[in-house]
């Protein structure tokens, strides 16, 4: 029972008063930010990355973990009461939850979302506890060619899964890869793509890219479209708590949602959209009240909300064991690790057990804190929505400035912020996904290192890339990810596509 001992050690770290305090801060901040539409966990953590300069690593990650889970709780609140999902994982919750709120069952919807999140978060964290060390052990056998194959798989799946078209996904990915090549080549010391600017020698900072694409792009987008009617808050009228029947209809979707969410979240590029969608579809099929779907079925809130939280625990598996981020949030967490000079992966379990197990233990604690924070205090969080929108976005821009200017007080970073902010705006308008940019930027240089390392070992023989069963399998899967969706689409559209295609 080595894992249990490690976990107990982790609780010893997480239960220190100072770390408990950071967990509380993270949960409160995460919830507050999750409630505000348009700002997700990735951006919140990115805006707070500068604190890594001053706060001990364990405390910082405990806070970030609180933000990650807290933002999910907050996101469901906004989805249910405002019908504006703050992040993609909450879309399905909005569908049924907002209907429930309109029918005067808002309190029950919020409760099933909160308790479901707690159940799923705990199950997901348990799975993470017992799975992560095993996968980390496994990762020790990975050679550079295996890591390269894994990253190729990560690239293709992120580019294919995120966004609506493969071309746009790959454009985003290659944009990120291109940004990643700017700066000094780590292996030969040559300068690359710096356009004669000294300030680019260190490369483009991840924080600048993230903050600009998300925060600045979003602020520009919302400002240009703010002529629309502001969303109105649905009062929590008829706030009846969950009835006995609600409990009976909720607990199975919670468990099923957890079972769907965790493994998919743990896949490279699993994300949270797919499991929430699958859970919704499944509950709809299994429900005894299928007619209620679309009009406020409680199963449609309980299942997806559980899947969402379990998937969030799942994304920590590849991140902590292999150093492989599969969502924007995970990419930011990876950047935070790198800020401390730490590289998540199998070695980290051996070298920094206190940090890792403290982080895992804090997930249990954070879940509990969130349940306590959310059930009675939901009315307070909703007040945040009363802050006028222009102040929220004005504030976001100020904090983006803190994040970018505080990095190294570099004028070039501010210029990059404006340029990338415009690109973020264009991406928002034309529906290009952002996550592949971040993953290309953060994994691209690593993939390059692994490729060159593998080729150096084999003395330039490209056959090395498929020389191990792991690498060959991963590359085959990557190829399938690339080839299968368009084939399926073609098969599906063939019968009816003929008349639809007109002369171009």
């Amino acid at each position: 029972m080595d894992i249990l001992n490690q976990l107990i050690g982790g609780f010893a770290v997480a239960l220190q008063p100072m770390n408990l305090f950071w967990a509380l801060i993270g949960c409160a901040l995460g919830t507050a930010v999750g409630v505000l539409p348009g700002i997700g966990p990735a951006l919140t953590i990115a805006l707070l990355l500068p604190v890594t300069a001053q706060v001990a690593p364990a405390s910082a990650f405990i806070m970030f973990a609180g933000i990650l889970y807290g933002a999910l709780y907050g996101g469901s609140t906004t989805s249910i009461l405002l019908n504006t999902p703050g992040e993609s994982g909450a879309v399905m919750t909005a569908l049924e939850g907002n209907r429930m709120a309109r029918n005067g069952r808002g309190a029950a919807a919020l409760a099933t979302a909160a308790i479901g999140s707690f159940v799923a978060g705990t199950i997901g964290t348990l799975a993470l506890t017992f799975l992560a060390p095993a996968i980390a052990e496994l990762a020790f056998v990975f050679g550079p060619e295996d890591y390269f194959a894994l990253m190729v798989l990560s690239f293709t799946s992120v580019a294919v899964v995120m966004g609506r078209s493969m071309v746009r996904g790959f454009t985003a990915l290659f944009f990120g890869l291109a940004l990643g090549t700017i700066g000094i080549d780590t292996q030969t010391g040559q300068t690359r793509m710096v356009f004669g600017t000294l300030e680019l020698l260190d490369g483009v900072s991840f924080t600048v890219v993230l903050v600009s694409l998300f925060a600045i792009g979003e602020a520009l987008y919302v400002a240009s479209r703010s002529g629309t009617v502001p969303a109105a808050i649905n009062p929590l009228s008829g706030g009846s708590w969950m009835t006995r029947q609600d409990w009976a209809r909720s607990w199975k979707p919670w468990l099923r949602g957890s079972v769907i969410g965790f493994p998919i979240g743990a896949l490279p590029a699993g994300g949270t959209e797919i499991p929430t969608f699958l859970s919704y579809a499944l509950e709809r099929r299994l429900s005894k009240h299928p007619k209620e779907f679309g009009h406020g079925a409680i199963e449609g809130v309980a299942g997806p909300e559980a899947a969402n939280n379990a998937a969030a625990a799942g994304i920590l598996v590849p991140l902590l064991t292999l150093g492989l981020p599969s969502t924007a949030t995970a990419a930011v967490l990876l950047a935070a690790f790198q800020n401390y000079g730490l590289q998540p992966g199998p070695m980290l379990f051996a070298t920094n057990p206190d940090l890792l197990w403290g982080l895992i233990a804090s997930l249990y604690i954070g879940n509990l804190i969130l349940l306590v924070l959310n059930l009675p205090l939901v009315g307070i969080w909703v007040r945040l929505l009363l802050i006028p929108r222009h102040y929220i976005y004005g504030g976001i821009v100020v904090f983006a400035l803190v994040g970018v200017w505080g990095l190294s007080t570099s004028w070039m970073d501010l210029l990059l912020m404006c340029g990338l902010g415009l690109i973020g705006y264009v991406a928002r308008v034309y529906d290009f996904p952002i996550a592949p940019v971040l993953i290309g930027l953060i994994l691209g240089p690593q993939a390059e290192i692994q490729l060159r390392r593998a080729l150096a070992v084999s003395q330039g023989d490209w056959g090395v890339l498929v020389s191990t069963p792991i690498a060959a399998t991963l590359l085959s899967i990557a190829l399938l990810v690339l080839v299968v969706p368009p084939m399926l689409a073609r098969l599906r559209s063939r019968p009816k596509a003929e008349p639809a295609i007109s002369t171009g």
């Binding site: 500068p50 604190v51 300069a53 001053q54 706060v55 071309v167 454009t171 290659f174 944009f175 291109a178 090549t181 080549d185 292996q187 030969t188 040559q190 690359r192 793509m193 602020a219 520009l220 400002a223 240009s224 479209r225 703010s226 002529g227 629309t228 929108r389 222009h390 102040y391 976005y393 004005g394 504030g395 821009v397 100020v398 904090f399 400035l401 803190v402 200017w405 505080g406 004028w411 501010l414 210029l415 404006c418 902010g421 705006y425 264009v426 928002r428 308008v429 034309y430 529906d431 691209g444 390059e448 490729l451 060159r452 080729l455 150096a456 330039g460 639809a500 295609i501 007109s502 171009g504």
Partner: protein
């Protein structure tokens, strides 16, 4: 012209410049790969190889994007049809807010630049209470400056003009 004419508005501008931008970036990277003295040593992959690969990828994607645009497949993301058209003046005002620190941050310092950025952005969102917005922006900027300085994050001198 378009694949699904019922869905798309013929008057919608087609973002041909988007594919062109990606293409230009690809060309820039291809050119960059050329100018790096590629020490194609025994491993066969020097520092220029990845840049070449990225350049080729971006070029191909740029061509595909342009083709898609010409065929009318690439238009603005579907929004609610009943939404108001995007406001150019609000966009420009917000952009001004985001870029004003470029001009001011070196001689006005962080708090005042943040105040100006905040005010411009709030005005882009339709706020017209300039005095209040300036005040809130100044408080927010100063609070951020003091708070983050205490965390050890340097945001430059408070008011560089004074020193």
């Amino acid at each position: 012209m378009s694949v699904n004419p019922s869905r798309q508005d013929a008057r919608k501008p087609r973002p041909w410049w988007l594919g062109l931008g990606v293409l230009a970036m690809g060309a820039l990277w291809l050119n960059g790969a050329r100018s790096i003295a590629s020490t194609t040593n025994y491993i066969g992959v020097g520092p220029a190889a990845i840049i070449l690969a990225v350049g080729i990828g971006l070029t191909i994607l740029g061509v595909i994007l342009i083709t898609q645009t010409m065929r009318g497949e690439l238009v603005a993301a579907a929004e609610g049809e009943d939404e108001a058209p995007p406001s150019r003046s609000a966009f420009l005002l917000a952009l001004a807010g985001v870029s004003i620190p470029l001009l001011t941050i070196r001689w006005l310092g962080f708090p005042l630049s943040a105040m100006l950025a905040f005010t411009l952005v709030t005005h882009a969102f339709g706020s017209r209470r300039t005095g209040l917005d300036l005040g809130v922006g100044a408080v927010l900027g100063s609070a951020a400056w003091f708070g983050f300085s205490r965390l050890g994050i340097s945001l430059g001198p408070f008011l560089p003009l004074i020193g």
